[in-house]
């Protein structure tokens, strides 16, 4: 090749190499690390869990640099809309109400919710059975809405984090806690959870509880939404999703 052609080829290669580097953008992902086994804080202060690993895998797949921001759950959507964060991967269920405020990529997992109570409580999951009973839920979650709509006579107690609700279940201040079934399993496995068990059948109620946990993005941010969807499909296909799934959760939680 003559000199000019070699120079052009070199420049072309350099340009090609620069494109992935330019695509190396920074995405701030908001989560709430008080939700084992999806996200929690180790004594060292490090964040770990299914949501965290999926976030890292997706970002690696997209070639983007991700910064995970740990904050309160009910502040996630306002933070997203205020551009404090660019995405939400925090086990946030896709519901119609939320879709009016933001868009979702995914869902990236789907599990039902469940009630837990003391083993000998003998509580019946009917509107009469829950009359006057105290049910603990987390502020800003769909579970709060579900209890209010399906069991209007139950007394709903709202907590900042699910772990705080479990603390009160253990001390007897609430009779039941209604939350994500997988998260509750973590509590039931722990020594304090030994005297508690799931009551009734797992609840899907997709109209209120949503169609699975999605990746929240700002309304109209279709570019990011498509990137996440593509990356999600890729890690499911490559088996990386299953590896992460098995690491934290005994059941298969891929959306059907």
């Amino acid at each position: 090749m003559n000199k000019l052609a070699r120079l052009a080829a070199a420049l072309g290669l350099a340009a090609l190499a620069a494109i992935p580097a330019a695509a190396q953008d920074k995405i701030k992902v908001g989560t709430e690390a008080a939700y084992a086994p999806f996200a929690w804080v180790l004594p060292s202060g490090e964040l770990t869990g299914f949501d965290i690993d999926v976030t890292k895998a997706l970002c690696a797949q997209m070639g983007a640099e991700c910064e995970i921001v740990n904050q309160s759950f009910d502040g996630l959507i306002p933070a997203l809309n205020a551009k404090k964060i660019d995405a939400i991967i925090a086990s946030m269920s896709i519901t119609e109400e939320r879709q009016q405020a933001i868009d979702f990529a995914g869902p990236y997992y789907h599990v039902p919710a469940a009630f837990i109570a003391a083993k000998d409580a003998g509580i019946e999951l009917t509107p009469e059975g829950l009359d006057g009973k105290f049910v603990g839920v987390q502020r800003g979650t769909t579970m709060a809405n579900y209890v209010e709509q399906s069991f209007p006579d139950a007394r709903v107690q709202v907590y900042d984090t699910l772990e705080a609700a479990n603390l009160d279940l253990a001390s007897g201040r609430v009779d039941l806690v209604f939350a994500d079934s997988v998260v509750l399993q973590e509590f039931l496995k722990s020594p304090d959870g030994a005297s508690f068990a799931v009551v009734g059948d797992p609840v899907y109620a997709t109209d209120i509880l949503g169609t699975g946990a999605g990746i929240g993005v700002r309304k109209g941010d279709t570019a990011l939404k498509e990137k996440f969807d593509a990356a999600l499909a890729a890690i499911i296909a490559s088996g990386e999703y299953k590896t992460i799934n098995d690491k934290y959760i005994p059941v298969d939680i891929l959306p059907k």
């Binding site: 008080a34 929690w40 804080v41 004594p43 060292s44 202060g45 740990n70 904050q71 309160s72 502040g75 306002p78 933070a79 809309n81 205020a82 551009k83 404090k84 900042d160 984090t161 772990e163 705080a164 479990n166 603390l167 253990a170 722990s190 304090d192």
Partner: protein, 221 residues
Amino acid sequence: MENLTPYLPLLLQGLRMTLLLAVSTLVVGLALGMTLALAKLSRHAWLSRPVYAVTDLLRGIPEFLILLVIYFGGTQALGRFGIEIGPFAAGLTALSLVFGSYASETFRAAFQSVPKGQTEAGRAYGFTRWQCFRLIELPQIWKVAIPGLGNLWQGAVKDTSLVSIVGLDDLMRKSNQAAQATREPFTFYLVASLMFLAITLVSMAVLAWLERRASRGLPGR
């Protein structure tokens, strides 16, 4: 109790953050308080009246509320300029605004306690207004203002615990995480209380020393 030791480094990290936020609040709050006090003492009603109104408002609503408004709203207003309002910035802004509002009252009362005759004498000697302020009024207000400012400092240290609710990794938040992970809330909240108490006691000693220093050379001490 055995659970305490592994979490101790975490709590100390939180303590450092608490102190960082408190000291930053003190610095910004003092500057703000001094400025607002001078505005309140101004001859111009268009300056003093709005300042009185705003500081009254800030002293009349919960610090928790101010924090949430700044945390959620700060980025909404400044986000388009690319300015980040994380929990620390939101906490610093909210706490400094509150500190400054209360401090403006403390400073105002302190300035008004300096006998007018001294300033008049200064003017008679040809001091400029600024020289009067710097050489006559400023050195004397500290003795009067330090007890009040000391109280505000103690309040600021305690108010930093509120910023844990919006996610700042301070002593309170670390205690929450430890308490919820180990299900031993009493242990960790007691330790947190003792750490705050330690800050309080040290602050009291420092303030006593400052008061003695500010009163040196004055009659009656």
